[in-house]
Protein backbone atom coordinates (compact mmCIF):
# COMPACT_ATOMS: atom_id res chain seq x y z
CA UNK A 1 0.00 0.00 0.00
CA UNK A 2 1.08 3.57 -0.67
CA UNK A 3 0.22 5.34 2.51
CA UNK A 4 0.44 9.11 2.76
CA UNK A 5 0.27 10.89 6.09
CA UNK A 6 -0.42 14.61 6.25
CA UNK A 7 1.33 16.33 9.11
CA UNK A 8 1.35 19.92 10.27
CA UNK A 9 3.78 21.66 12.49
CA UNK A 10 2.05 23.67 15.22
CA UNK A 11 3.08 25.61 18.32
CA UNK A 12 3.43 23.41 21.40
CA UNK A 13 0.27 23.49 23.53
CA UNK A 14 2.30 25.01 26.37
CA UNK A 15 3.80 27.73 24.17
CA UNK A 16 2.68 31.28 24.73
CA UNK A 17 1.13 32.66 21.55
CA UNK A 18 0.94 36.44 21.02
CA UNK A 19 -0.10 38.60 18.07
CA UNK A 20 2.74 40.23 16.10
CA UNK A 21 3.24 43.99 16.12
CA UNK A 22 1.01 44.78 13.11
CA UNK A 23 -1.59 42.15 14.03
CA UNK A 24 -1.15 40.34 10.71
CA UNK A 25 -0.29 37.04 12.39
CA UNK A 26 1.42 35.79 15.53
CA UNK A 27 4.99 36.22 16.76
CA UNK A 28 6.87 33.27 15.35
CA UNK A 29 10.23 33.85 16.99
CA UNK A 30 9.89 32.28 20.40
CA UNK A 31 7.59 29.44 19.42
CA UNK A 32 8.43 25.85 20.15
CA UNK A 33 7.12 23.74 17.27
CA UNK A 34 5.77 20.24 17.54
CA UNK A 35 3.99 17.82 15.27
CA UNK A 36 0.26 18.46 15.53
CA UNK A 37 -0.80 15.99 18.28
CA UNK A 38 -3.64 14.51 16.19
CA UNK A 39 -1.20 13.85 13.35
CA UNK A 40 0.77 11.58 15.67
CA UNK A 41 -2.21 9.22 15.66
CA UNK A 42 -2.18 9.25 11.87
CA UNK A 43 1.55 8.49 11.71
CA UNK A 44 1.15 5.68 14.25
CA UNK A 45 -1.75 4.19 12.28
CA UNK A 46 0.34 4.25 9.11
CA UNK A 47 3.26 2.55 10.86
CA UNK A 48 1.00 -0.14 12.29
CA UNK A 49 -0.31 -0.88 8.80
CA UNK A 50 3.24 -0.94 7.47
CA UNK A 51 4.25 -3.37 10.22
CA UNK A 52 1.43 -5.70 9.17
CA UNK A 53 1.99 -5.27 5.42
CA UNK A 54 5.68 -5.09 4.79
CA UNK A 55 5.37 -3.99 1.16
CA UNK A 56 3.74 -0.71 2.28
CA UNK A 57 5.53 2.62 2.16
CA UNK A 58 4.73 5.55 4.38
CA UNK A 59 5.25 9.04 2.97
CA UNK A 60 4.68 12.07 5.15
CA UNK A 61 3.52 15.31 3.58
CA UNK A 62 3.72 18.70 5.14
CA UNK A 63 2.82 22.16 3.87
CA UNK A 64 4.62 24.90 5.77
CA UNK A 65 7.78 26.88 6.29
CA UNK A 66 11.27 25.39 6.06
CA UNK A 67 12.43 27.28 9.15
CA UNK A 68 12.15 24.08 11.13
CA UNK A 69 11.11 20.70 9.79
CA UNK A 70 10.47 19.15 13.20
CA UNK A 71 7.22 17.43 12.24
CA UNK A 72 8.66 15.62 9.20
CA UNK A 73 11.83 14.60 11.01
CA UNK A 74 9.80 13.28 13.92
CA UNK A 75 7.57 11.27 11.60
CA UNK A 76 10.59 9.76 9.83
CA UNK A 77 12.30 9.05 13.16
CA UNK A 78 9.12 7.24 14.22
CA UNK A 79 9.49 5.06 11.11
CA UNK A 80 8.00 6.79 8.04
CA UNK A 81 10.03 6.10 4.89
CA UNK A 82 10.20 9.47 3.19
CA UNK A 83 8.72 12.91 3.21
CA UNK A 84 7.47 15.70 1.04
CA UNK A 85 7.63 19.32 2.05
CA UNK A 86 5.65 21.94 0.20
CA UNK A 87 7.19 25.19 1.23
CA UNK A 88 4.69 27.86 2.25
CA UNK A 89 4.07 30.48 4.89
CA UNK A 90 2.54 29.23 8.14
CA UNK A 91 -0.81 31.03 7.84
CA UNK A 92 -2.17 29.41 4.71
CA UNK A 93 -5.90 28.64 4.66
CA UNK A 94 -7.37 25.14 4.60
CA UNK A 95 -8.24 25.29 0.91
CA UNK A 96 -4.68 26.09 -0.16
CA UNK A 97 -3.24 23.50 2.22
CA UNK A 98 -5.52 20.78 0.87
CA UNK A 99 -4.67 21.76 -2.71
CA UNK A 100 -0.95 21.81 -1.92
CA UNK A 101 -1.14 18.37 -0.29
CA UNK A 102 -2.91 17.02 -3.34
CA UNK A 103 -0.22 18.52 -5.56
CA UNK A 104 2.57 17.16 -3.35
CA UNK A 105 1.11 13.66 -3.45
CA UNK A 106 0.75 13.84 -7.25
CA UNK A 107 4.38 14.96 -7.58
CA UNK A 108 5.51 11.80 -5.79
CA UNK A 109 4.28 9.77 -8.76
CA UNK A 110 2.66 7.28 -6.42
CA UNK A 111 -1.05 6.55 -6.38
CA UNK A 112 -2.28 6.76 -2.81
CA UNK A 113 -4.15 3.81 -1.32
CA UNK A 114 -4.69 5.55 1.95
CA UNK A 115 -4.28 9.13 3.10
CA UNK A 116 -4.20 9.60 6.85
CA UNK A 117 -4.57 12.97 8.58
CA UNK A 118 -5.07 14.22 12.09
CA UNK A 119 -8.71 15.19 12.61
CA UNK A 120 -7.73 18.84 12.99
CA UNK A 121 -4.66 20.98 13.56
CA UNK A 122 -4.54 22.65 16.95
CA UNK A 123 -3.25 25.94 15.54
CA UNK A 124 -6.19 27.17 13.45
CA UNK A 125 -8.61 24.41 14.55
CA UNK A 126 -10.46 24.60 11.24
CA UNK A 127 -11.09 20.86 10.88
CA UNK A 128 -11.43 21.23 7.10
CA UNK A 129 -8.37 19.83 5.33
CA UNK A 130 -9.19 16.09 5.42
CA UNK A 131 -12.68 16.65 4.02
CA UNK A 132 -11.52 19.20 1.44
CA UNK A 133 -8.70 16.92 0.36
CA UNK A 134 -11.13 14.04 -0.10
CA UNK A 135 -13.35 16.28 -2.27
CA UNK A 136 -10.43 17.46 -4.36
CA UNK A 137 -9.10 13.92 -4.82
CA UNK A 138 -12.59 12.48 -5.29
CA UNK A 139 -12.04 9.93 -2.54
CA UNK A 140 -14.39 8.86 0.24
CA UNK A 141 -13.39 10.04 3.69
CA UNK A 142 -14.29 9.62 7.32
CA UNK A 143 -13.40 12.20 9.96
CA UNK A 144 -12.71 11.91 13.70
CA UNK A 145 -11.83 8.23 13.48
CA UNK A 146 -11.25 6.34 16.74
CA UNK A 147 -11.29 2.78 15.39
CA UNK A 148 -9.56 1.35 12.32
CA UNK A 149 -9.83 -2.15 10.87
CA UNK A 150 -8.64 -3.19 7.45
CA UNK A 151 -9.21 -6.37 5.47
CA UNK A 152 -7.75 -6.05 2.00
CA UNK A 153 -9.49 -3.10 0.38
CA UNK A 154 -12.22 -2.99 2.97
CA UNK A 155 -12.04 -0.50 5.80
CA UNK A 156 -14.21 -0.56 8.87
CA UNK A 157 -13.90 2.71 10.72
CA UNK A 158 -15.41 4.03 13.90
CA UNK A 159 -16.10 7.74 14.08
CA UNK A 160 -16.76 9.60 17.30
CA UNK A 161 -19.88 11.75 17.20
CA UNK A 162 -21.64 13.80 19.85
CA UNK A 163 -22.18 12.50 23.36
CA UNK A 164 -19.47 9.87 22.93
CA UNK A 165 -21.59 7.89 20.43
CA UNK A 166 -19.89 6.05 17.60
CA UNK A 167 -20.78 5.74 13.91
CA UNK A 168 -19.44 2.61 12.26
CA UNK A 169 -18.47 3.09 8.60
CA UNK A 170 -17.56 0.67 5.89
CA UNK A 171 -15.75 1.84 2.78
CA UNK A 172 -13.04 0.79 0.39
CA UNK A 173 -9.57 2.10 -0.18
CA UNK A 174 -8.36 4.43 -1.56
CA UNK A 175 -9.73 6.77 1.09
CA UNK A 176 -8.93 9.71 3.32
CA UNK A 177 -9.08 8.97 7.05
CA UNK A 178 -8.84 11.68 9.72
CA UNK A 179 -7.59 10.29 13.03
CA UNK A 180 -8.71 11.25 16.52
CA UNK A 181 -7.27 10.67 19.97
CA UNK A 182 -8.17 7.21 21.22
CA UNK A 183 -7.32 5.51 17.91
CA UNK A 184 -3.94 4.27 19.11
CA UNK A 185 -0.98 5.19 21.30
CA UNK A 186 1.65 6.93 19.18
CA UNK A 187 5.14 5.52 19.61
CA UNK A 188 8.13 7.61 20.50
CA UNK A 189 10.75 8.23 17.88
CA UNK A 190 13.64 6.02 19.03
CA UNK A 191 17.23 7.27 19.17
CA UNK A 192 18.36 4.87 16.42
CA UNK A 193 15.28 6.08 14.50
CA UNK A 194 16.44 9.68 14.88
CA UNK A 195 19.89 8.76 13.58
CA UNK A 196 18.38 6.89 10.61
CA UNK A 197 15.88 9.65 9.78
CA UNK A 198 18.57 12.02 8.59
CA UNK A 199 19.37 9.66 5.70
CA UNK A 200 15.74 9.33 4.56
CA UNK A 201 14.68 11.23 1.44
CA UNK A 202 12.91 14.57 1.71
CA UNK A 203 11.44 16.04 -1.48
CA UNK A 204 10.87 19.78 -1.47
CA UNK A 205 8.47 21.76 -3.64
CA UNK A 206 7.26 25.34 -3.82
CA UNK A 207 3.56 26.23 -3.83
CA UNK A 208 3.90 27.14 -7.51
CA UNK A 209 5.38 23.68 -8.21
CA UNK A 210 2.22 22.06 -6.89
CA UNK A 211 -0.13 24.46 -8.67
CA UNK A 212 -1.25 26.68 -5.80
CA UNK A 213 -1.57 30.37 -6.68
CA UNK A 214 -2.50 33.55 -4.81
CA UNK A 215 -5.97 33.28 -6.30
CA UNK A 216 -6.57 30.07 -4.37
CA UNK A 217 -6.73 31.82 -1.04
CA UNK A 218 -10.28 31.68 0.26
CA UNK A 219 -9.98 32.84 3.86
CA UNK A 220 -8.27 36.09 4.86
CA UNK A 221 -7.19 36.78 8.40
CA UNK A 222 -6.38 40.16 9.92
CA UNK A 223 -6.29 42.00 13.26
CA UNK A 224 -4.82 39.25 15.40
CA UNK A 225 -5.22 40.28 19.00
CA UNK A 226 -5.34 38.89 22.51
CA UNK A 227 -8.72 37.96 23.98
CA UNK A 228 -9.92 40.48 26.57
CA UNK A 229 -8.73 39.69 30.10
CA UNK A 230 -11.42 38.87 32.59
CA UNK A 231 -11.63 41.00 35.71
CA UNK A 232 -10.47 39.09 38.81
CA UNK A 233 -13.10 36.86 40.35
CA UNK A 234 -14.13 36.23 43.92
CA UNK A 235 -12.39 33.56 45.99
CA UNK A 236 -13.82 31.82 49.03
CA UNK A 237 -11.95 29.82 51.65
CA UNK A 238 -13.58 26.47 52.45
CA UNK A 239 -10.71 24.24 53.54
CA UNK A 240 -12.32 24.15 56.97
CA UNK A 241 -15.21 21.71 56.76
CA UNK A 242 -17.45 23.99 58.82
CA UNK A 243 -17.09 26.72 56.23
CA UNK A 244 -18.27 24.59 53.30
CA UNK A 245 -22.03 25.03 53.74
CA UNK A 246 -21.79 28.81 54.08
CA UNK A 247 -19.48 29.25 51.10
CA UNK A 248 -21.54 26.97 48.88
CA UNK A 249 -24.74 28.79 49.69
CA UNK A 250 -23.08 32.14 49.00
CA UNK A 251 -21.68 30.99 45.64
CA UNK A 252 -25.02 29.52 44.57
CA UNK A 253 -26.65 32.83 45.48
CA UNK A 254 -24.12 34.72 43.36
CA UNK A 255 -24.62 32.37 40.41
CA UNK A 256 -28.33 33.02 40.60
CA UNK A 257 -28.49 36.72 41.40
CA UNK A 258 -25.21 38.24 40.22
CA UNK A 259 -24.15 36.08 37.26
CA UNK A 260 -27.71 34.98 36.45
CA UNK A 261 -26.60 31.69 34.94
CA UNK A 262 -28.79 29.28 36.94
Amino acid sequence: MNIFVCVKQVPDTETKVTPNSDGSFINLDSIKWIMNPYDEFAVEQALQIKAAQSESTVTVVRVGSVRDTEALRTAMAMGADESILVEAEDNLDSYCIAKAIKGGIEKSGKTPDLILCGKQAIDDDCLQVPQLLSQMMELPSVSMVVGFEQTGEDLKLRREIEGGSIEVYSLKTPAVVACNKGLNTPRYASLPGIMKAKRKPLAQHSLADVGVTDGDRRVKYSSFNLPPEKPPGKKFEAMDEDAVAGVVSEVVGLLRNEAKVI
Binding site: R73, A189, S190, L191, P192, G193, M195, A197, K198
Partner: protein, 381 residues
Protein backbone atom coordinates in the same frame (compact mmCIF):
# COMPACT_ATOMS: atom_id res chain seq x y z
CA UNK B 1 36.24 28.09 17.17
CA UNK B 2 33.63 27.90 19.87
CA UNK B 3 30.20 26.61 19.04
CA UNK B 4 27.50 26.17 21.62
CA UNK B 5 24.75 25.07 19.28
CA UNK B 6 23.41 21.53 19.34
CA UNK B 7 23.34 19.73 16.00
CA UNK B 8 19.91 19.01 14.54
CA UNK B 9 20.17 15.38 15.70
CA UNK B 10 21.15 16.50 19.17
CA UNK B 11 18.09 18.74 19.26
CA UNK B 12 15.93 15.74 18.42
CA UNK B 13 17.77 13.51 20.88
CA UNK B 14 17.13 16.13 23.54
CA UNK B 15 13.50 16.44 22.55
CA UNK B 16 12.92 12.69 22.78
CA UNK B 17 14.84 12.31 26.04
CA UNK B 18 12.92 15.18 27.64
CA UNK B 19 9.62 13.79 26.40
CA UNK B 20 10.55 10.45 27.93
CA UNK B 21 11.57 12.14 31.19
CA UNK B 22 8.31 14.06 31.42
CA UNK B 23 5.91 11.34 30.29
CA UNK B 24 7.50 8.21 31.68
CA UNK B 25 9.72 9.26 34.58
CA UNK B 26 8.12 12.26 36.29
CA UNK B 27 4.80 10.48 36.95
CA UNK B 28 6.58 7.55 38.60
CA UNK B 29 9.62 9.14 40.26
CA UNK B 30 7.99 9.87 43.61
CA UNK B 31 6.15 6.56 43.92
CA UNK B 32 9.18 4.43 43.04
CA UNK B 33 11.26 6.42 45.49
CA UNK B 34 8.71 6.00 48.28
CA UNK B 35 8.45 2.25 47.76
CA UNK B 36 12.06 1.55 46.82
CA UNK B 37 10.61 0.06 43.65
CA UNK B 38 13.10 -0.92 40.95
CA UNK B 39 12.12 0.94 37.74
CA UNK B 40 12.46 -2.13 35.50
CA UNK B 41 9.37 -1.15 33.47
CA UNK B 42 10.57 2.41 32.85
CA UNK B 43 14.09 1.24 32.00
CA UNK B 44 12.78 -1.40 29.60
CA UNK B 45 10.97 1.35 27.69
CA UNK B 46 14.10 3.48 27.76
CA UNK B 47 16.11 0.58 26.38
CA UNK B 48 13.55 0.09 23.56
CA UNK B 49 14.07 3.71 22.55
CA UNK B 50 17.85 3.40 22.61
CA UNK B 51 18.26 5.61 25.67
CA UNK B 52 20.40 3.04 27.49
CA UNK B 53 23.95 1.78 26.86
CA UNK B 54 24.73 4.83 24.76
CA UNK B 55 28.48 4.20 25.02
CA UNK B 56 28.44 1.01 22.92
CA UNK B 57 30.17 1.64 19.55
CA UNK B 58 28.34 0.99 16.28
CA UNK B 59 30.60 -2.00 15.43
CA UNK B 60 29.01 -3.84 18.33
CA UNK B 61 25.43 -2.79 17.64
CA UNK B 62 25.38 0.58 19.39
CA UNK B 63 23.86 3.71 17.90
CA UNK B 64 27.14 5.53 17.55
CA UNK B 65 26.67 8.34 20.01
CA UNK B 66 29.49 10.69 20.88
CA UNK B 67 30.29 11.50 24.49
CA UNK B 68 28.61 14.86 23.84
CA UNK B 69 25.41 13.04 22.83
CA UNK B 70 25.60 10.77 25.88
CA UNK B 71 25.89 13.59 28.38
CA UNK B 72 22.95 15.32 26.74
CA UNK B 73 20.81 12.19 27.05
CA UNK B 74 21.90 11.67 30.65
CA UNK B 75 21.10 15.27 31.57
CA UNK B 76 17.58 14.88 30.22
CA UNK B 77 17.00 11.54 31.90
CA UNK B 78 18.28 12.83 35.25
CA UNK B 79 15.87 15.73 34.84
CA UNK B 80 13.26 12.94 34.84
CA UNK B 81 14.66 11.10 37.88
CA UNK B 82 18.21 10.95 39.20
CA UNK B 83 17.59 7.57 40.86
CA UNK B 84 16.39 5.90 37.67
CA UNK B 85 19.25 7.50 35.76
CA UNK B 86 21.76 6.02 38.19
CA UNK B 87 20.42 2.61 37.34
CA UNK B 88 20.85 3.31 33.60
CA UNK B 89 24.27 4.90 33.99
CA UNK B 90 25.46 1.92 36.01
CA UNK B 91 25.22 -0.13 32.82
CA UNK B 92 27.47 2.27 30.96
CA UNK B 93 29.87 2.34 33.85
CA UNK B 94 30.09 -1.47 33.81
CA UNK B 95 30.37 -1.74 30.03
CA UNK B 96 32.99 1.01 29.66
CA UNK B 97 35.89 -1.17 30.96
CA UNK B 98 34.97 -3.71 28.26
CA UNK B 99 34.82 -0.94 25.63
CA UNK B 100 38.17 0.45 26.82
CA UNK B 101 40.10 -2.67 27.68
CA UNK B 102 38.35 -5.54 25.92
CA UNK B 103 39.49 -7.40 22.82
CA UNK B 104 37.31 -7.50 19.70
CA UNK B 105 36.12 -11.00 20.67
CA UNK B 106 35.28 -9.87 24.22
CA UNK B 107 33.37 -6.85 22.94
CA UNK B 108 31.31 -9.04 20.62
CA UNK B 109 30.67 -11.50 23.43
CA UNK B 110 29.61 -8.96 26.06
CA UNK B 111 28.54 -5.69 24.40
CA UNK B 112 26.39 -6.88 21.50
CA UNK B 113 23.91 -8.79 23.72
CA UNK B 114 23.14 -5.50 25.47
CA UNK B 115 22.00 -4.04 22.18
CA UNK B 116 19.76 -7.04 21.43
CA UNK B 117 18.28 -7.54 24.82
CA UNK B 118 17.30 -5.46 27.83
CA UNK B 119 19.75 -6.44 30.55
CA UNK B 120 21.98 -5.12 33.28
CA UNK B 121 25.64 -5.15 34.25
CA UNK B 122 27.34 -3.94 37.43
CA UNK B 123 30.64 -2.18 37.98
CA UNK B 124 32.35 -3.64 41.07
CA UNK B 125 35.21 -1.57 42.42
CA UNK B 126 34.35 -0.30 45.91
CA UNK B 127 34.81 -2.58 48.92
CA UNK B 128 33.67 -2.34 52.54
CA UNK B 129 37.10 -1.07 53.60
CA UNK B 130 38.10 0.75 50.41
CA UNK B 131 36.09 3.59 48.94
CA UNK B 132 38.14 6.63 47.98
CA UNK B 133 41.32 4.57 48.41
CA UNK B 134 40.36 2.31 45.51
CA UNK B 135 43.90 1.09 44.89
CA UNK B 136 43.93 -0.52 48.31
CA UNK B 137 41.29 -3.06 47.34
CA UNK B 138 41.47 -6.52 48.93
CA UNK B 139 39.63 -8.72 46.40
CA UNK B 140 42.06 -11.25 44.99
CA UNK B 141 42.21 -12.75 41.50
CA UNK B 142 44.30 -15.91 41.76
CA UNK B 143 45.74 -17.69 38.75
CA UNK B 144 44.72 -21.30 39.10
CA UNK B 145 46.15 -22.80 35.93
CA UNK B 146 43.35 -22.87 33.34
CA UNK B 147 41.17 -20.41 35.26
CA UNK B 148 41.17 -17.61 37.82
CA UNK B 149 39.67 -17.75 41.30
CA UNK B 150 38.10 -14.51 42.57
CA UNK B 151 37.65 -13.95 46.30
CA UNK B 152 36.51 -10.80 48.08
CA UNK B 153 33.67 -8.47 49.09
CA UNK B 154 32.24 -5.57 47.12
CA UNK B 155 30.04 -2.77 48.44
CA UNK B 156 27.44 -0.30 47.02
CA UNK B 157 27.07 -2.22 43.79
CA UNK B 158 24.35 -0.65 41.61
CA UNK B 159 21.98 -3.07 39.79
CA UNK B 160 23.63 -6.03 41.59
CA UNK B 161 20.30 -7.77 42.06
CA UNK B 162 19.47 -7.58 38.34
CA UNK B 163 22.84 -7.91 36.63
CA UNK B 164 23.91 -10.62 34.22
CA UNK B 165 27.52 -9.49 34.27
CA UNK B 166 29.79 -8.24 37.01
CA UNK B 167 32.83 -6.27 35.95
CA UNK B 168 35.10 -6.81 38.93
CA UNK B 169 38.33 -5.21 40.02
CA UNK B 170 40.73 -7.25 42.12
CA UNK B 171 44.44 -7.69 42.64
CA UNK B 172 46.70 -10.44 41.45
CA UNK B 173 49.14 -9.49 44.23
CA UNK B 174 48.47 -6.82 46.89
CA UNK B 175 52.22 -6.14 47.12
CA UNK B 176 52.15 -4.82 43.54
CA UNK B 177 49.71 -2.06 44.61
CA UNK B 178 48.32 -0.26 41.47
CA UNK B 179 50.27 -2.53 39.22
CA UNK B 180 48.54 -5.61 40.60
CA UNK B 181 45.04 -4.41 39.95
CA UNK B 182 43.19 -6.33 37.24
CA UNK B 183 39.72 -6.20 35.78
CA UNK B 184 37.74 -9.35 35.09
CA UNK B 185 34.21 -10.03 33.80
CA UNK B 186 32.21 -12.52 35.84
CA UNK B 187 29.01 -14.16 34.67
CA UNK B 188 26.36 -13.58 37.36
CA UNK B 189 25.32 -17.23 37.20
CA UNK B 190 28.78 -18.39 38.32
CA UNK B 191 28.94 -20.44 41.46
CA UNK B 192 30.11 -18.80 44.67
CA UNK B 193 28.51 -15.38 44.24
CA UNK B 194 26.50 -14.19 47.20
CA UNK B 195 24.24 -11.18 46.60
CA UNK B 196 23.45 -9.06 49.64
CA UNK B 197 20.11 -7.47 50.49
CA UNK B 198 19.09 -4.17 48.91
CA UNK B 199 20.41 -1.17 50.83
CA UNK B 200 17.89 1.26 52.36
CA UNK B 201 19.24 4.55 51.12
CA UNK B 202 18.58 8.26 51.68
CA UNK B 203 18.11 8.96 47.96
CA UNK B 204 18.19 7.16 44.61
CA UNK B 205 15.90 4.80 46.46
CA UNK B 206 14.53 3.15 43.34
CA UNK B 207 17.99 2.06 42.21
CA UNK B 208 19.13 -1.33 43.37
CA UNK B 209 22.25 -1.16 45.55
CA UNK B 210 23.75 -4.22 47.23
CA UNK B 211 26.88 -5.79 48.59
CA UNK B 212 28.41 -8.76 46.78
CA UNK B 213 30.59 -11.56 48.06
CA UNK B 214 32.77 -13.56 45.68
CA UNK B 215 33.57 -16.76 47.54
CA UNK B 216 36.28 -18.38 45.43
CA UNK B 217 34.43 -17.87 42.14
CA UNK B 218 36.01 -19.74 39.20
CA UNK B 219 36.34 -17.47 36.16
CA UNK B 220 37.60 -18.52 32.69
CA UNK B 221 40.94 -17.01 31.67
CA UNK B 222 39.40 -15.39 28.59
CA UNK B 223 37.34 -13.15 30.87
CA UNK B 224 40.33 -11.00 31.88
CA UNK B 225 40.19 -7.51 30.31
CA UNK B 226 43.62 -6.64 28.96
CA UNK B 227 46.60 -8.22 30.64
CA UNK B 228 46.66 -8.95 34.37
CA UNK B 229 47.80 -5.77 36.11
CA UNK B 230 46.22 -3.43 33.53
CA UNK B 231 43.10 -2.97 35.62
CA UNK B 232 44.10 0.33 37.20
CA UNK B 233 44.74 1.91 33.81
CA UNK B 234 41.36 0.62 32.60
CA UNK B 235 39.64 1.97 35.73
CA UNK B 236 41.20 5.41 35.34
CA UNK B 237 40.22 5.62 31.66
CA UNK B 238 36.73 4.47 32.58
CA UNK B 239 36.45 7.33 35.03
CA UNK B 240 37.46 9.81 32.32
CA UNK B 241 34.39 8.61 30.42
CA UNK B 242 32.01 8.13 33.29
CA UNK B 243 32.66 11.33 35.25
CA UNK B 244 31.17 13.57 32.55
CA UNK B 245 28.11 11.30 32.61
CA UNK B 246 27.79 11.49 36.37
CA UNK B 247 28.28 15.25 36.19
CA UNK B 248 25.47 15.48 33.62
CA UNK B 249 23.27 13.47 35.98
CA UNK B 250 23.83 16.15 38.62
CA UNK B 251 23.14 18.80 35.99
CA UNK B 252 19.82 17.20 35.03
CA UNK B 253 18.71 17.08 38.67
CA UNK B 254 19.70 20.71 39.06
CA UNK B 255 17.70 21.73 35.98
CA UNK B 256 14.64 20.00 37.42
CA UNK B 257 15.10 21.79 40.74
CA UNK B 258 15.47 25.13 38.98
CA UNK B 259 12.36 24.51 36.91
CA UNK B 260 10.29 23.52 39.95
CA UNK B 261 11.51 26.44 42.07
CA UNK B 262 11.02 28.97 39.32
CA UNK B 263 7.49 27.81 38.50
CA UNK B 264 6.53 27.66 42.15
CA UNK B 265 7.92 31.14 42.76
CA UNK B 266 5.66 32.50 40.04
CA UNK B 267 2.58 30.83 41.52
CA UNK B 268 3.09 31.20 45.26
CA UNK B 269 1.67 34.48 46.54
CA UNK B 270 2.95 36.10 49.74
CA UNK B 271 2.57 39.71 50.81
CA UNK B 272 0.10 40.11 47.96
CA UNK B 273 2.45 39.23 45.09
CA UNK B 274 4.02 36.07 43.69
CA UNK B 275 7.23 35.42 45.63
CA UNK B 276 9.10 35.63 42.29
CA UNK B 277 8.62 39.40 42.67
CA UNK B 278 10.62 39.41 45.91
CA UNK B 279 14.31 40.19 45.52
CA UNK B 280 15.29 37.61 48.10
CA UNK B 281 13.81 34.89 45.89
CA UNK B 282 15.14 36.44 42.68
CA UNK B 283 18.74 36.19 43.88
CA UNK B 284 18.26 32.54 44.83
CA UNK B 285 16.82 31.73 41.43
CA UNK B 286 19.57 33.69 39.65
CA UNK B 287 22.30 31.85 41.56
CA UNK B 288 20.67 28.54 40.68
CA UNK B 289 20.66 29.56 37.03
CA UNK B 290 24.33 30.59 37.10
CA UNK B 291 25.33 27.24 38.57
CA UNK B 292 23.27 25.30 36.06
CA UNK B 293 24.81 27.12 33.13
CA UNK B 294 28.36 26.82 34.48
CA UNK B 295 27.85 23.11 35.18
CA UNK B 296 26.64 22.58 31.64
CA UNK B 297 29.70 24.32 30.19
CA UNK B 298 32.06 22.13 32.23
CA UNK B 299 30.15 18.96 31.34
CA UNK B 300 30.13 19.89 27.65
CA UNK B 301 33.84 20.60 27.64
CA UNK B 302 34.69 17.37 29.44
CA UNK B 303 32.67 15.43 26.85
CA UNK B 304 34.03 17.45 23.93
CA UNK B 305 37.65 16.74 24.97
CA UNK B 306 36.79 13.05 25.07
CA UNK B 307 35.26 13.23 21.60
CA UNK B 308 38.41 14.95 20.31
CA UNK B 309 40.58 12.24 21.86
CA UNK B 310 42.20 14.81 24.12
CA UNK B 311 43.06 14.32 27.82
CA UNK B 312 40.05 15.28 29.90
CA UNK B 313 40.93 14.03 33.39
CA UNK B 314 41.14 17.49 34.92
CA UNK B 315 38.04 18.93 33.30
CA UNK B 316 36.05 15.73 33.89
CA UNK B 317 36.83 15.97 37.60
CA UNK B 318 36.02 19.68 37.60
CA UNK B 319 32.71 18.95 35.91
CA UNK B 320 31.90 16.16 38.35
CA UNK B 321 32.85 18.17 41.45
CA UNK B 322 31.23 21.41 40.34
CA UNK B 323 28.03 19.88 38.96
CA UNK B 324 27.55 17.65 42.01
CA UNK B 325 28.21 20.40 44.54
CA UNK B 326 26.03 22.81 42.55
CA UNK B 327 23.23 20.25 42.36
CA UNK B 328 23.36 19.90 46.14
CA UNK B 329 23.18 23.67 46.58
CA UNK B 330 20.50 24.15 43.95
CA UNK B 331 18.23 21.41 45.26
CA UNK B 332 18.66 22.68 48.81
CA UNK B 333 17.73 26.16 47.62
CA UNK B 334 14.75 24.77 45.73
CA UNK B 335 13.44 23.36 49.02
CA UNK B 336 14.04 26.81 50.53
CA UNK B 337 11.99 28.52 47.81
CA UNK B 338 9.11 26.13 48.49
CA UNK B 339 9.38 26.74 52.24
CA UNK B 340 7.30 24.33 54.31
CA UNK B 341 5.82 22.71 51.21
CA UNK B 342 9.32 21.95 49.97
CA UNK B 343 9.97 19.86 53.07
CA UNK B 344 6.87 17.80 52.39
CA UNK B 345 6.80 14.73 50.16
CA UNK B 346 3.78 16.24 48.40
CA UNK B 347 6.17 18.32 46.29
CA UNK B 348 9.07 16.97 44.23
CA UNK B 349 11.95 19.03 45.60
CA UNK B 350 12.75 17.17 48.83
CA UNK B 351 13.50 14.07 46.75
CA UNK B 352 15.79 16.08 44.51
CA UNK B 353 17.71 17.25 47.57
CA UNK B 354 18.11 13.68 48.83
CA UNK B 355 19.13 12.45 45.39
CA UNK B 356 21.66 15.24 44.95
CA UNK B 357 23.67 14.17 47.98
CA UNK B 358 24.73 10.87 46.48
CA UNK B 359 26.28 12.51 43.44
CA UNK B 360 28.77 14.30 45.70
CA UNK B 361 29.76 10.87 47.00
CA UNK B 362 29.80 8.23 44.25
CA UNK B 363 32.20 8.00 41.33
CA UNK B 364 34.81 9.80 43.42
CA UNK B 365 33.71 12.13 46.20
CA UNK B 366 33.91 15.87 45.69
CA UNK B 367 37.07 15.75 47.83
CA UNK B 368 38.71 13.10 45.63
CA UNK B 369 37.86 15.18 42.54
CA UNK B 370 39.70 18.12 44.05
CA UNK B 371 42.66 15.87 44.76
CA UNK B 372 42.69 14.86 41.09
CA UNK B 373 42.23 18.44 39.93
CA UNK B 374 45.03 19.84 42.11
CA UNK B 375 47.37 17.08 40.99
CA UNK B 376 46.67 17.96 37.36
CA UNK B 377 47.11 21.67 38.03
CA UNK B 378 50.48 21.09 39.74
CA UNK B 379 51.59 19.19 36.65
CA UNK B 380 50.70 22.19 34.52
CA UNK B 381 52.21 25.03 36.52
Amino acid sequence: MLNFEYTSEQKEIKELSLKFARNEMHPKAQEYDDNKKFPGDVLAKAWELGLMNTSIPTEYGGSGFTASDSVLITECLAYGCMGMTTSMMANDLALLPIIIGGSDEQKKRWLTPFTNEFKFASFCLTEPGNGSDAAGLKTTIKDNGDHYVVTGNKMWITNAGHADLFVVYGTIDPALKHKGISCIVIDASSEGIEIGKAEDKMGHRCSDTRSLNFNGVKVPKENMLGAPGEGWMIAMKTLDHSRPLVASCALGGAVRALECASQYAKERVQFGVPIAKHQAIQTIIADMGIKVEASRLLVSKAAWLLDQGLPNTKVASMAKAFAADSCMQITTDAVQVYGGYGYSKEYPVEKLMRDAKLIQIYEGTSQIQRLVISREIFKEY
